[in-house]
Amino acid sequence: AQSVTQLDSQVPVFEEAPVELRCNYSSSVSVYLFWYVQYPNQGLQLLLKYLSGSTLVKGINGFEAEFNKSQTSFHLRKPSVHISDTAEYFCAVRGLSGSARQLTFGSGTQLTVLP
């Protein structure tokens, strides 16, 4: 079985400040890692994904994430946030084999950008 823990359920931050949303995972097999964003009353949209190679992954809207295998973490960062970044962010993991191949989501982090 695999699981995802998003350590912060809510993160308030002022506009133009940096932000980090934390994600830790556990899995018995190798994994792919994803960050999705969900705006109110909308479906999920992919921000970025880690499949292999460089551990620093750049995504849309200026977000990036770093895969740390030893710490089983995949934290999401943005150096300067905008009001429009206010949304729910979900970290997800997908194993490469067997029953772990289904996409497993964390419980989400609500990012609120304050003026």
């Binding site: 479906g43 999920l44 992919l46 994904k49 029953s99 191949r101 989501f105 989400g108």
Partner: protein, 114 residues
């Protein structure tokens, strides 16, 4: 490119009634997923189709939930009879194929069971 379409967007029913949701995936996507997202939680996979065959339905409550994907294109998810705890957003997603492929999500159907 058109996205994943879902209908209805909102549905309110009383417990013990039945309800059905419809999903039309992105054209050419072989894999279709149904997720349940309860308020305050991340989405949970209910069922995965590859073309018109079921790949994974291990978390589908089969005593009340059913899903089909006839002709390998659009899909219907049904709940009969509904319970209060079924109140959630039901998300449909599709992908080309393979674990590395991005899943594209529809806007979801918000179900309220009274």
């Amino acid at each position: 490119e058109a996205g994943v379409a879902q209908s209805p967007r909102y549905k309110i029913i009383e417990k013990r009634q039945s309800v059905a949701f419809w999903c039309n995936p992105i054209s050419g996507h072989a894999t279709l997923y149904w997720y349940q997202q309860i308020l305050g939680q991340g989405p949970k996979l209910l069922i995965q189709f590859q073309n018109n065959g079921v790949v994974d339905d291990s978390q589908l409550p089969k005593d009340r939930f059913s899903a089909e994907r006839l002709k390998g294109v659009d899909s219907t998810l049904k709940i009969q009879p509904a319970k209060l705890e079924d109140s959630a957003v039901y998300l449909c997603a599709s992908s080309s194929s393979g674990a590395a492929d991005t899943q594209y999500f529809g806007p979801g159907t918000r179900l309220t069971v009274l």
